[in-house]
Symmetry: C2
Subunit: 112 residues, 2 copies
Amino acid sequence: MSKSAKRTYSAYSSDAMHLLGATIRAERKTKKMSQQELAERAGVARSVIQRVEKGDMTCGVGIVFEVAHIVGIPLFSAEPSRLAHHIRQVEDKLTLLPKTIHKKKKVINDDF
Amino acid sequence: MSKSAKRTYSAYSSDAMHLLGATIRAERKTKKMSQQELAERAGVARSVIQRVEKGDMTCGVGIVFEVAHIVGIPLFSAEPSRLAHHIRQVEDKLTLLPKTIHKKKKVINDDF
DNA sequence: TCTATACGACCTCTATATCAGTCATTACTT
DNA sequence: AAGTAATGACTGATATAGAGGTCGTATAGA
């Protein structure tokens, strides 16, 4: 966004992040960890943990994933050992798809 | 991370983002969308789409979620309508948990 | 009760993510 | 085979995320 035009997000994305943040907070408390402790484990400032738990969309995705992982939240409902397998699956699929997408006609159905 | 101490991520987080990026690319192609088109729909620069599809951990979580949603990838394997429900569930759970987490005294095992 | 501390809400500063381009190469479409 | 569009890999400028702190309040434990 060039100027100070604030970025907008769909309700779905906002809700998803809100849910993730609340889940992280719940799991942290369940595991009896303080924000400070979680911050140290993740290697980030406490202020960042606060933003993550509030569902701030501007946090780095790597930080959010890392924090979620530390408190034991599975990403994509996949166990660690299955991720590599899924990656291979998707990459196999990618080799079957065209390398570039050329638009010729209208094909896309907008669902907004 | 004050200086140029590069942030590190666990293999699980890296794999998860790698998988997400590859899945986004695959879904974009399946839907016959170009990077440019996806960028415009998401309201970001094309270079950001490239980084997202490469699994760059430093992308904003909001941008990644938004892009994933546009190409039709469900977050947390939850349908849009279920998210609000899950949010309430977690927030109910939160009210039952302590507001602050005080570290209990170190359990002393100084018997060596 | 009393007290150490976890938390929320701020702040400033610096590193960097994002934007908006360019260019060369590749790969679709006709 | 030619033409055109898509992609990958860059760039510089600028907005902003994250670091690291402060302060006041609230809370869990003793």
